[in-house]
């Protein structure tokens, strides 16, 4: 994302003029734009016009509109962001307060204004940090990944902030049967060819939105057993057979790794394995995966040094246990997309307290990466404490007990 200009005062009110340049920037915009913010962008609007003869015609015209945001709608797959709201600045064609949905587009500037509406939020510390991250210019890591098993493949693109499943390929591969091995081998062949052609199609699509079309994004193949290896051999053979340029360029970039299943969440094992980590260097994904691994290891030890869940974590911070000397606060960025402004303030306050008052570390994980999804499972917030605290979870609500005593146990 390119930041053209920003005028933000010390109270956090003001505007930023931004130009999304790559698909991932839409994800950043989605995280930045909150209800009650004002958003100004180019819009198409049907305008009625009465001719001298009295006939009314409706004609679409382009104009700049400023809306007060009501809701946002982000489609992960296509990267499209629609922002609905009411027109906030009057205009010769459109009345104040009328509904409009702005569709943000690549390479088209928009202005985001916070702090104008007392009901809305400001450029708080979290928003400013997101803005800074969104506008980092250094080359970002990017990777295609195919997580596969016999007959199923998930084709994903992994970027700095997102893991997006582009497509799931499923081909029925008959299992081995006495006297009927042919079906299995033929099925695998068909599965590989379908997966490869699907992958190539997605790669071509991605290229069309890329600025540097010569660049080849590396490819990671992961599976249990030998499927990924076999697929690699298949790609190599296809490259030599067809002499297809894209394929030939792809072959040397292929990394093969082991995963326990063909499911997308198995990516976390792959990306935290030392062999792959070293090749991906310092990606946000790899860093966050390592952090989540550390957190869950500590929770497993169950000695009060790590906690998860909103109330538990807030209590830990209140007790001064998430500060200097190893305290880490982990939050999912989903918390800051809260439609409820009060809810967002709650978490911004916690972030500021840990970072500025307590001197602890704060990590906001992307909910579109596997690490963020793992954190989501734990209630979107967790903390590593500097000293153990027991019983942060007292006064629990009732749990319905529908166990009849004496019934057969699981094992």
């Amino acid at each position: 994302m390119r930041l053209e200009r920003s005028t933000i005062d010390k109270h956090g009110s003001g505007s930023a003029i931004l130009i999304p340049e790559e698909p991932e920037d839409m994800w950043h915009a989605y995280n930045l734009i909150q209800p009650h913010d004002h958003l100004r962008a180019r819009a198409m609007r049907n305008v009625k016009k009465e001719s001298s003869t009295g006939t009314v015609t409706s004609k679409p015209i382009k104009l700049d509109l400023t809306i007060s945001v009501i809701s946002t709608d982000f489609d992960i797959g296509s990267g499209q962001l629609h922002v609905a709201g009411r027109v906030a600045v009057e205009n010769e064609h459109v009345k104040l307060g009328s509904h409009h949905t702005l569709d943000l587009e690549l390479n088209r500037r928009f202005t985001l204004i916070k702090g104008v509406d007392s009901k809305g939020g400001i450029w708080d510390s979290v928003a400013l940090e997101m803005l800074r991250e969104a506008c980092e210019t250094e080359r970002k890591a990017e990777l295609w990944a195919v997580v596969m098993g016999e007959g199923t493949a998930n084709i994903c693109i992994i970027t700095e902030h997102q893991t997006i499943v582009r497509q799931r390929v499923e081909v029925a591969v008959p299992r081995k049967r006495r006297g009927g091995i042919d079906g299995h081998d033929k099925g695998m062949e068909k599965f590989f060819s379908t997966t490869l052609s699907t992958l190539l199609r997605h790669m071509e699509n991605a290229k069309s939105t890329q600025q540097d079309t010569e660049k080849t994004t590396p490819l990671l193949l992961a599976s249990p057993g030998f499927v990924a290896q076999a697929f690699q051999s298949y790609i190599k053979a296809e490259a030599t057979r067809t002499m297809n340029k894209t394929l030939l360029a792809l072959v040397p970039t292929i990394l093969v790794a082991h995963s326990s299943t063909h499911h997308v969440h198995a990516l976390k094992e792959v990306l935290s394995s030392p062999a792959i980590m070293s090749k991906l260097s310092d990606t946000k994904f790899a860093r966050e995966t390592a952090l989540m691994d550390k957190l869950t290891t500590l929770i497993r030890q169950d000695d009060g040094r790590a906690w998860y869940g909103p109330r538990e974590v807030e209590r830990a911070v209140d007790k001064g246990a998430v500060g200097r000397g190893g305290g880490v606060l982990l939050l999912s960025n989903a918390l800051f997309r809260a439609q409820d402004v009060g809810e967002r303030k709650r978490w911004v306050k916690l972030v500021d307290k840990v970072r500025d008052v307590e001197g602890g570390e704060v990590r906001v994980l992307s909910s579109l990466h596997e690490s963020g999804k793992r954190l989501e499972g734990l209630g979107n917030v967790a903390a590593i404490l500097t000293f153990p605290i027991e019983d942060l979870d007292e006064e629990d609500e009732e749990v319905v007990n529908h166990a009849a005593s004496g019934e057969e146990m699981v094992i």
Binding site: A172, P174, R175, K176, R177, R178, G180, I181, G183, H184, D185, P224, G225, F226, A230, H258, S259, S260, T261, H263, V264, H265, A266, K268, E269, T296, I299, R300, D302, W307, Y308, K373, R374, G377, L378, G379, D393, D396, E397, E398, V399, N401, H402, A403, A404, S405, G406, E407, M409, V410, I411
Partner: protein, 435 residues
């Protein structure tokens, strides 16, 4: 307009037919254990010595195995049939085979030992009435198996409902039929298996050597083994009580394979009937697709039959359905009493590892789907099932608890179904669906 059924039903009362048929009792068993401990070889040997596989076929396999330098795997190749399995010398997927003794018709489900293929092993285990756990008795192998899949497989079959276990202490030839080693292994395994809730009545230890065939079908001859007076493997198999068959219940069959059966029908499926029965001409309902099909022909052990009942693993040749509606892991049931689809359930689990709310792979037979443990509701008393602690932060290995599981999509699951929860290639817990 009602379409006329393409296949005529004989409208048999299958339960009565079964009574009348005087059919031999039948049993399916899964062969489990750590990788390379000799499961496939042992089964190849069993089939060879029972003349299910003839000398010529074995000679042919020997020759082929020799040419790629894998002569010791010739017997295993009876079970390991894909080129990948043969080249790598490991079983990848369940192999099915049949044999019979005077008393019983058996179906072998030879499972892979490799950790990566536990999903396939689970699929095999969920079709079994009992299990044969194969253990390599040679120096260090038993010990490394204990750290590996010997224990995990045993725990898994137990949580999938298997109560009877034959422990084949294998490769006895490599340790000159040492009595003390056999006893050491039996002792260690007994202790472990009883803590895993197998009753000692249900466990039989049999020393054997699949490669040489000693004490498999033939009794062992060598004087080194004169101390052993117990049963051979085949005798132990024959002593197994057949499992309960729920013939009167509504039809439930878990699809383990979908394939083009040839000219007979456009599409065929196979899988174990868990409950009920099916006959030629029946309309069946495939879930979750919620699509009906007509049973055109049924085969059991490659022979055409009029009907099949709970406990059998038939092949059903189907018409009147688009193959896209059939996938392995799906459930076939009677349209009169269909399985409901659910995506959230509570489940009583036994933890194998630490359990936290997290994404998990949920297994039920061939069914394998993404889901998550969304909440730890309570830790339970192992014996009484009463709540010990509400909302525990983490559940430790060996503890029993109640959790909420949310699936990525709706699936046909019923109360009382046994599921396995895995994460990152490790079995986290096994559970019983409560509702």
């Amino acid at each position: 307009m009602e379409e006329s059924p393409s296949v005529k039903s004989k409208d048999l009362n299958v339960a009565e037919e079964f009574e009348k048929s005087g059919m031999k009792r039948m049993a399916n068993f899964v062969v489990i254990g750590h990788v390379d401990h000799g499961k496939s070889t042992l089964m190849g040997r069993l089939l060879f010595d029972l003349n299910v596989i003839d000398q010529r076929s074995i000679d042919k396999l020997r020759k082929e195995a020799e040419t790629i330098g894998k002569s010791s795997f010739a017997l295993a190749w009876v079970m390991d049939q894909t080129s990948e399995e043969r080249n790598r010398g490991v079983t990848v997927d369940i192999a099915t085979n049949h044999f019979e003794t005077e008393k019983t018709r058996f179906t072998i489900l030879d499972a892979p030992g490799h950790k990566d293929f536990i999903p396939n092993m689970i699929a095999g285990a969920s079709q079994a009435d009992f299990a044969v756990l194969v253990i390599d008795a040679s120096i260090n192998s038993f010990e490394s198996g204990l750290r590996g899949q010997t224990k995990e497989h045993a725990l898994l079959v137990r949580s999938l409902g298997v109560q009877r276990l034959i422990v084949a202490v294998n490769k006895m030839d490599t340790i000159s039929w040492s009595q003390s080693r056999f006893e050491e292994i039996s002792q260690a395994m007994s202790t472990f298996l009883t803590t895993a809730n197998f009753s000692s009545k249900g466990i039989t230890f049999v020393p054997c050597a699949g490669l040489t065939g000693e004490n498999v079908v033939r009794k062992v001859q060598t004087s080194d083994a004169s101390w052993y007076t117990g049963p051979s493997l085949i005798e132990a198999l024959d002593a197994s009580e057949p499992g309960k068959r729920h013939i009167e219940k509504p039809l439930r069959l878990t699809i383990s394979d979908v394939f083009k059966g040839g000219v007979i029908a456009p599409i065929s499926i196979s899988g174990r009937i868990e409950a009920g029965s099916v006959q030629v001409g029946d309309a069946i309902l495939a879930m979750p697709a919620n699509e009906t099909a007509t049973v055109k022909m049924i085969e059991v052990e490659n022979k055409p039959v009029d009907w099949a009942i709970a406990g059998q693993i038939p092949t059903l040749h189907l018409t009147d359905i688009d193959p896209i509606h059939l996938r392995s892991g799906d459930i076939v049931c009677t349209p009169k009493d269909p399985v409901k689809l659910i995506n959230t359930f509570t489940c009583k689990i036994l933890a194998f590892e630490h359990v936290l709310p997290s994404s998990v792979d949920v297994f039920r037979g061939r069914l394998h789907t993404e889901g998550k443990i969304s909440a730890l509701l309570a830790r339970l008393d192992k014996a009484t099932g009463e709540i010990v602690k509400k909302k525990p932060r983490v559940v430790k290995p060996g503890e029993v608890s109640r959790v909420t599981v949310v699936l990525e999509k709706e699936l046909p699951l019923e109360v009382g179904t046994r599921v396995v929860l895995r994460e990152g290639g490790n079995t986290v817990a096994a559970g019983l669906l409560e509702g």
